[in-house]
Symmetry: C2
Amino acid sequence: MNEANRRTANSFLSIDPDTHLIGLDWGTTQLRAYRFIADGEVAESRQLPAGIQRIGPAGPDGFERAFEDACGDWRAATPACPIVACGMIGSAQGWREAPYIDVPTSLDALGHAWTDVHTASGATLHIVPGLIVRAALPEVLRGEETQIAGALDIALDSAPDRWIGLPGTHTKWVRVRDRDIVQFHTFMTGEVFAALCDHTILGRTMRRVPPPVEPAAFDGDAFDRGVDVARGSHGRAGVLSTIFSTRSLGLVGALAPPSQSDYLSGLLIGHELAGFGALGGLGAPPLQLVGSDELCRRYQRALAAFGCRSALATNATERGLWRIARAAGLVPSAIARPSNPQD
Amino acid sequence: MNEANRRTANSFLSIDPDTHLIGLDWGTTQLRAYRFIADGEVAESRQLPAGIQRIGPAGPDGFERAFEDACGDWRAATPACPIVACGMIGSAQGWREAPYIDVPTSLDALGHAWTDVHTASGATLHIVPGLIVRAALPEVLRGEETQIAGALDIALDSAPDRWIGLPGTHTKWVRVRDRDIVQFHTFMTGEVFAALCDHTILGRTMRRVPPPVEPAAFDGDAFDRGVDVARGSHGRAGVLSTIFSTRSLGLVGALAPPSQSDYLSGLLIGHELAGFGALGGLGAPPLQLVGSDELCRRYQRALAAFGCRSALATNATERGLWRIARAAGLVPSAIARPSNPQD
C-alpha cells in the first residue's frame, strides 16, 4: 500500500493489475482519485488541485488533462477498468451536465442514471447524477448522494431509518428510509460562517490564526456558549440578531477576541440544529455524520447539547463510489454481504 | 434656504447670523453638518466624505481638518454657537470615546452625559453618548439614540409606547416608553445581505445593476415572496436554510436572476421581523420607522405582510440633535411645545 501510494515516473510496475474500479470525487476545488481492488478495498488514492472551478475555464482540454493526470497510468495498466465519477464534474459548469434525478429515489438507482463522457483517450466516465427535491422550496445536491450511499454501508443501530448530516460549506441533512432518499434540507452554515468572519464587522475583532499556517486551538467553552444561546430563549430572535452578540460580548469584555470565532461557529451550528429540529430532524431516527473529522466533532458536540447522539461514517465517498458501481453491475459482488433487514 | 445651501468661496456673507446650533452627524463613512436657526429650523446642511473610517488613520489632525471643512465658516460667523455631534465620532475609533450610558434611560438625559472635545481652533464639541443594554447578550448603539430623540418629536397616534425601527447595516428595534428607552435589539440584516450578495454563491447567479450607476428596479413580487417564505411554515427552518432557495429556485427556473436580490432581501427582512415578533415586537405598541426612504418602504411592505402598520419619521437626526441640545439647555425653547401626555 505504501509502495503503491508513491507515484513514480514509471509507476506501471507498482500498479496492482487487479484494479476493479477507478473512482473520482471531482469537486469544485479538488479532484480525488481512488483505485479500488477486490471487495472495494482502496489500494491507492490521489488528490489533485484540479477542481472544476480551477480547470473549467480551459474547456474540455482542461478536463482531459486533469483526468489523465489523475488516473492515466492506472488506465494504461488496466484499460478495461470501469470509471465512476461524482461531484461537481456533473454540474452545468463541469465536463458534462448529469441531470438531477428526483427524490424520493432508491440509492441503488443512481447507477442506472449515469451520464457518460467519452474521453479523447477512449475512456468512458460514468458520472453519478445529483438529486433534486421539486417542492415549493426546491433542494439540490451533487456529490453527497455518493457519500450517502457509502454511509449506508455502515450499520447504525438496527434502525431502517436515519438522518445523515453532511456538514460543510452547504450542510445537507438527508432522510433515508429503506435505502431510499426521501427528502433533504440545505443549510448554508459553512459559507455564511466564512462570509461573516471575512466580510463583516464580526471578523474585525476576531484574532484568528490563518488555518493553513497553524490550526487555531478549538475553544470548546466558547463554542458551547454559542450553541446554548442559539438553542435557548435568546435564539428565538433568530441568527440575524444573535450573531451581533459576538461583537457586543467582546465590547463589554465578556468574550475574548480569540474565542469569538468558535462562539460564532457554535451560534451558527446551534441555529442550524434548531431549524433542523423544527423540520422534525431531532426525533427518533438515528443520526449519522459524514465529513471532515474536525467539523463532525463540532456537530457531535452541538447535537449532544440538543440531547442527540450521532455516529460518524468514515470514508463515505470511497465506499459510496464502490457501492454505486456494484449496484450498477460494474464490479463483481465477490462476497455476499448480509442483506439489509428491510430489503 | 436655497441661497444658504449654496456654498461659496466667501460664504460668510450668506450665513444667517442667527445660528443657534451646529449639529454634526459624524458616522463611519460620512460627516453631515447642520446649521440650525430659531426653533430648530435647518438653514443649511452639508455632507462630506469624512467618516471616521476615512479620516481616523490621520489621527487628531484629520478630525480637526474635517471639522473645519464642515463648519469652520459657520463658527467664524457665530463663534459662541454651541456644537453637538453624534455617531461613531464618539466610538473608540473616533475623535474621543464617549462612554455608553445604560438603558433604561431618559432621552432627555443624553445631553447631560456629553463627552467634550476641545478643538485646536478653540471650539467645544459635545459628543452625544451611545447606549448600552447590559444583559446576557449585551446590546449597543451609537448615533441611533439621536434619531430616536428626533422621532419622538413626531406624534404617533396617542400612544405613550412605541417601537422605533431603524433599518440599515445593523437594524435596531428600540422600545420607548414615556420618553425612556427601555430596551433594544440589533439585527445585522443589512450587513448580512451585502455579505451574502457579494461573498457567497448566492451572488453569482444574481444579475444586479450596480446601485451607484443606476438603481435597479424594485421587484415587489419577488420581495413579497421572500417575506412570505420567512413568515410561513418554511421559515421555521431558519434563515441559514431558506436563503439557499434563492439559488435553488433559480436552478429550476422559478426565480429569474434579476429577481433574486429582492427575493433574498424579502427573506432576510421577513426573518428579522419574525425574530422581532418572537421578542414581542409586533404587538400593541405602534411602530415607527427611521431611515432611508427606500429601505423604510421595504420594511413597511414587509410589516404589512405581518399585519402591522408603521409610520415613517423624517429628518430624525436633525430633529434629534436639536431636541437633545434643547433638553440640555444649549438652545432656547422659544416656542412652548405641547407637552407629552405622559410628562
